[in-house]
Amino acid sequence: MTPERIGIVVALILGLAGGYQLARARRRGKRSERPQEVHQILLPFTGTEISRRAVDAALRLARAEDATLMPAYLAAVPKQLPLDCAIPIEAARAMPMLEAIEQRAAGQGVPVDARVERGRSYRHALSRLLDHESFDRVVVSAGSTGAAGLSGEDLVWLLDKAPAEVLILRPGPEDRRILAA
């Protein structure tokens, strides 16, 4: 092979390698241009039921804001058990409800990133969730409050502590269970 041909082959290889690197750099650049902030809407719930109206309100917001819905089941772990113990009975309630919420969200094209949070009380579980997750809105249904869920005091506490807008839904006659575990 003549030196000219060798030169052409080397130039061709260098050109291809350069083009490949350039394409990779552009792709990386595009990725880094994406917003880092994750828009999330928290939907905490407890017990064995959740109002469909609350789920729908959270989904409407998530769609409008192009956000991810974070349904979070709050589980109260009895004091005699370690806080990080497995909770199969609570999990058996939580999983079908999370599944149902995810199914509804999928129908509306809303991404879901679910959580199950443990605490000594529902408020404690919510507090732990607030500590390590970030979100822009919190949707809670006042209809789900009471002995089995978040009390009025818990909601006041949430309004005070949540680093996000809190939407408390007034109980309505059209509130219905979407799932009973």
Partner: protein, 374 residues
């Protein structure tokens, strides 16, 4: 010196007849001219149990002062000096008072076994460390004296003393378990039918898992020890199932985990989650958050999250399947393949080829966007 033979009588609760059965078998051994001695017996003032012990030699207990109270404990030195062929030592989960040779009786038993003496012993299922939380959640009662599961694993034989909850409650009512004044309290607390039914199920599963784990150990040793690999391969698959789900730190994996957990619940088996992490890649940002979420979910469900660094997903998964004895492998739906990836065999087929015969691979479809895959 050969280690003694270790037999454990396991029960769901007090009063099912563990000690009675241990003594019964001890008597049978004595009648067959074996040298049998009772190392420690806790008859709990049960007449039937005491009757079974009559005629068997008892190594005298030793007096120990604990918190200014005289208590009687097993005399380990006495048992070792007496050196029977078979020692009957009740309640292996018992905690010894400070100052004795060991903190726990199962440690005393280990020394007796090491001296070449066969041991029969007893334990209730709620004393097993791994089940302590579960049993406490099921029954609302937590026991303080726990033993590592490896104690059960180290036994040559585990005999489950099974009794229906109704039969145990009948025994309790008849005063065969506790004295009269304690019966009503016991019936309204720990000895409720639903508690006993749950405990019975846990005990049955525990023994099934022990059998399974011993079978798998045998399986491995056969593979090592014989030239006829076909023999090991012909051993029937696991009696109990074990699920392994391949996950990634992405929200979509949660559905896979939920599905896998539901299947594990139905099969009454354990669930392992495996993330094969590309080597050298740091876990940070959103990925780190998702790993934390997965870990949290696994902990809530009582599943085990395994993270293996490997550049070959299939090889890593196959290795974990062999190590954990998995019988079901669950994977998420793959991305529609593009470009050269189309030429490659799909993931489920590769997994089927790489894993031992009999391991089923199940694909869980994505519900939402098709944005994530292998």
């Amino acid at each position: 010196m050969d280690r003694g033979h270790y037999k454990i009588f396991l029960g769901m609760a007090a009063g099912v007849g563990k000690t009675y059965r241990m003594l019964q078998e001890g008597r049978a051994e004595a009648e067959a001219d074996r040298d049998v001695a009772i190392g420690y017996l806790e008859p709990h003032r049960r007449e039937e149990t005491s009757a079974q012990a009559r005629g068997l030699e008892v190594v005298p207990r030793r007096q120990v002062t604990h918190r200014e109270v005289e208590v009687e404990e097993m005399d380990l030195a006495g048992v070792l000096a007496r050196k029977p062929q078979l020692a009957l030592i009740d309640e292996l989960a018992h905690s010894n008072p400070p100052g004795l040779e060991h903190a726990k009786r199962y440690e005393d038993i280990a020394e007796v076994l090491a001296a070449g003496i066969d041991v029969y012993s007893t334990v209730n299922v709620q004393h097993l460390e791994s089940l302590n939380d579960r049993v406490a959640e099921l029954t609302g009662v937590r026991v303080r004296e726990t033993v590592p599961d490896s104690v059960l694993g180290s036994a040559d034989e585990v005999v489950l003393i099974d009794l229906t909850p109704e039969a145990l409650v009948a025994r309790l009512r008849a005063g065969k378990v506790y004295p009269g004044e304690s019966i009503e309290a016991a019936l309204s607390n720990f000895f409720r039918i639903e508690n006993l039914a749950a405990l019975r199920e846990v005990s049955l599963r525990q023994v099934a898992e022990e059998v399974e784990s011993k079978r798998l150990t045998l399986h491995v040793s056969e593979q090592v020890g014989t030239r006829e690999e076909g023999v090991a391969a012909a051993v029937p698959q696991a009696v109990g199932e074990r699920l392994l789900a391949l996950v990634r730190p992405q929200p979509s994996s949660q559905r896979l985990v939920r599905r896998a957990w539901r299947s594990a619940q139905r099969l009454g088996t354990d669930l392992d989650l495996l993330w094969v992490k590309p080597p050298g890649k740091p876990v940070e940002g959103e990925e780190e958050r998702q790993v934390t979420a997965l870990r949290q979910l696994a902990s809530v469900l009582g599943a085990t999250l395994l993270i293996e660094e490997h550049d070959d997903l299939v090889a890593a998964a196959a290795q974990v399947v062999r190590e954990r004895g998995s019988t079901y492998l669950m994977v998420g739906e793959s991305l529609p393949r593009r470009g050269l990836a189309r030429l490659r065999e799909p993931l489920p087929q590769r997994l089927i080829k790489a894993t031992p015969a009999g391991v089923d691979v199940r694909i869980v479809a994505h519900r939402g966007s098709k944005g994530e895959g292998e």
